[in-house]
């Protein structure tokens, strides 16, 4: 056999499957050294076959060869270094902005600030109430089970008080706000990056950090301590409910026990942590938002990264503050 030809005189309707069949047939012919005669095919089919084989007007850039393990390690190292430098640069820009704000060289954008305050107060109360209440309940359950064995059920108020004020109030509120507000910051700023709104600030010669980051950061910095104080109160109330229900305690005894053990510095430690967590959430959310790429999935990735980074740093910061508090015997 030397040639493959077609007789398509009786061909009625046809679609892309015919073209795919013909292209495969042509490939086989070329591989086997046969002549592929398109003479018997309808003209439109011949033209489409030619188009399908046309050389693109721009050369396809081949993917770089498979990188070796050392190269991949190096690339990963470099990208980690770049990410760290980006974080340092962004923190520097924000610090610069804070200093200019304090020196009154730039104005605070109060409207955006109040929007953030609103969304982190009334807007967040529902979820914070629920989680804080359950947290207090869980700590109290734990206390009831463990302390009752030693006949020390009375001290459950210590556990609830210390647990909520020093640790869980701030930590749980921080994690909730990282998921809620940190992700929202990243998504808002990410969308603005894609629609070139951030570029529009830059090319006007004004700092997008002043306009977009500062109000969000300060709003969260102000609201986080207040939210944590609220969460502490709700959590202790939840713990008291459990203690009063399961133990032979009155609410007066519970509160009396709590007040005799817990000091103001315990509460202030939690509030101090809350301020730090507020800065962490604001910075990671805004930074990931401002670094958003340009494709459709970029905003989602930024929001996810902001939450992961926020929660990781919150837990890390919590451990560092606890360690310092232990050193300083607070």
């Amino acid at each position: 056999m030397r040639e493959l030809g077609f007789e398509a005189g009786a061909l009625g309707a046809w679609d892309s499957s015919l073209l795919i069949f013909l292209l495969q047939a042509r490939d086989h012919c070329e591989a086997g050294g046969l002549r592929f005669d398109t003479g018997g095919l309808p003209d439109p089919v011949t033209r489409l076959l030619e188009l399908a084989r046309a050389v693109p007007d721009r050369a396809v850039v081949p993917d770089p060869a498979h990188a070796s393990r050392v190269e991949r390690l190096g690339a990963a190292g470099l990208s980690t270094w770049d990410a760290a430098m980006d974080a340092v640069t962004f923190t520097g820009q924000v610090t610069d902005s804070v200093i200019r704000l304090l020196l009154r060289r730039t104005r605070m954008r109060w409207r955006e600030f109040w929007v953030v305050v609103q969304s982190n107060s009334s807007g967040a109360l529902g979820i914070v109430t629920l989680i804080a209440l359950l947290m207090g309940v869980i700590i109290a359950f734990l206390g009831v089970v463990v302390l009752k064995r030693f006949g020390a059920g009375y001290y459950v108020s210590y556990l609830v008080g210390y647990g909520m004020l020093r640790e869980m109030g701030a930590l749980m509120t921080g994690i909730i706000m990282a998921g809620r507000t940190g992700a929202a910051f990243a998504a808002e700023l990410g969308s603005m990056k894609i629609t070139e709104e951030i570029d529009a600030y830059t090319t006007l010669g004004v700092s997008p950090v002043d306009h977009l980051v500062m109000p969000r950061l300060l709003g969260l910095f102000v609201m986080m301590p207040l939210l944590v104080i609220y969460a502490d109160v709700v959590g202790i109330a939840g713990g008291m409910m459990v203690a009063v229900t399961l133990l032979d305690l009155t609410s007066t005894q519970f509160i009396g026990g709590l007040l005799s053990a817990v000091t103001l510095s315990d509460a202030l430690l939690g509030v101090f942590k809350a301020s730090i967590f507020g800065v962490i959430i604001g910075l990671s959310g805004c930074m990931k938002g401002m670094q958003t790429g340009s494709d459709a999935g970029a905003v989602g990735r930024s929001a996810t990264n902001a939450v992961v980074m926020g929660i990781t740093l919150i837990i890390l910061a919590n451990a560092v503050v606890d360690w310092l508090a232990a050193l300083l015997q607070i």
């Binding site: 721009r58 603005m192 070139e196 570029d199 529009a200 090319t203 006007l204 010669g205 004004v206």
Partner: protein
């Protein structure tokens, strides 16, 4: 900002924008190299080229969003491409940019969008700012839309509102990124009218990135062609002259909208 008064010949000799031996890269990928041109004061200068040829990248360099890999960019005689942040920020209010999709600040009303450059860079009282805002929105045919948010108006209106914002400070140079993209023919033609009006009335220097042929022939005094195959500029001149006497096949095909010779 006051626009240039063309009375001193010495000032006229300094181009509004000048690019010398510019090379543009994305990381290590070469986009364009050896670009040299200058934009005279008061002219409409079009940067044209096929999709992916680096037109928008060149615009990003001209408006300071990207730094040159090599070469220099001057704005009104002052170094812009290699300037530090503070120097660049001092120059930026003297130029206005109309982004492809307007890029209006979505959290602000149209009036607040136009007012923001004025509150940042002028000492005008609130009442005076309101008057300027009303004037600029009136110039683009949006008087009465002051209180609208960008999401509540059409794409064409957004672009015109963004133009009002770009001319808020009476810039020396106005940059347009694909002004006719996404617009119906009537809106696109109205935007071309506005460009010509700004040039005639204010003497504004205008740099337009586009591949819209109709627009190019209507508004451009001179045009620059970026050729993706050679990765450099291959033509510079008035569009009509380039069509009559194209320096190469790519320019001929682009300006006559022909795909001859293409597979």
């Amino acid at each position: 900002m006051t626009h240039a008064v063309p009375d001193a010949p010495a000032a006229l000799a300094v181009p509004a924008v000048e690019v010398r031996n510019l090379t543009m890269r994305y990381d290590s990928l070469l986009i364009m190299e050896e670009l040299s041109f200058s934009v005279a004061r008061g002219e409409v200068f079009v940067i044209m080229g096929g999709s992916g040829s680096g037109k928008s990248t060149l615009l990003k360099h001209l408006i300071g969003l990207k730094q040159p890999a090599e070469g220099e960019i001057f704005f009104d005689g002052a170094d812009f491409g290699g300037a530090d942040d503070a120097a660049r920020r001092a120059i930026m209010p003297r130029m206005g940019v109309l982004y492809q999709n307007g890029a209006l600040w979505s959290g602000l009303t149209l009036a607040e969008n136009v007012a923001l450059p004025l509150t940042e860079f002028t000492a005008l009282e609130v009442g005076a700012i309101d008057e300027v805002v009303a004037l600029k929105l009136g110039l683009v045919g949006l008087r009465g839309f002051e209180g609208f948010y960008p999401s509540a108006i059409s794409g064409g209106m957004r672009k015109r509102a963004a133009l009002a914002r770009a001319i808020a400070l009476d810039p020396d140079v106005l940059y347009f990124d694909e002004p006719s993209s996404g617009l119906d023919p009537i809106s696109a033609s109205r935007l071309d009218d506005l460009i010509l009006e700004l040039k005639a009335s204010f003497g504004t220097t205008i740099v337009v990135v586009t591949h819209d042929l109709e627009s190019i022939f209507r508004i451009a005094d001179r045009a620059l062609f970026l050729d993706i195959t050679t990765k450099t500029m291959t033509a510079l001149g008035s569009p009509a002259a380039l069509r009559e006497d194209p320096p190469n096949e790519q320019v001929h095909r682009f300006l006559t909208r022909s795909s001859e010779g293409q597979p």
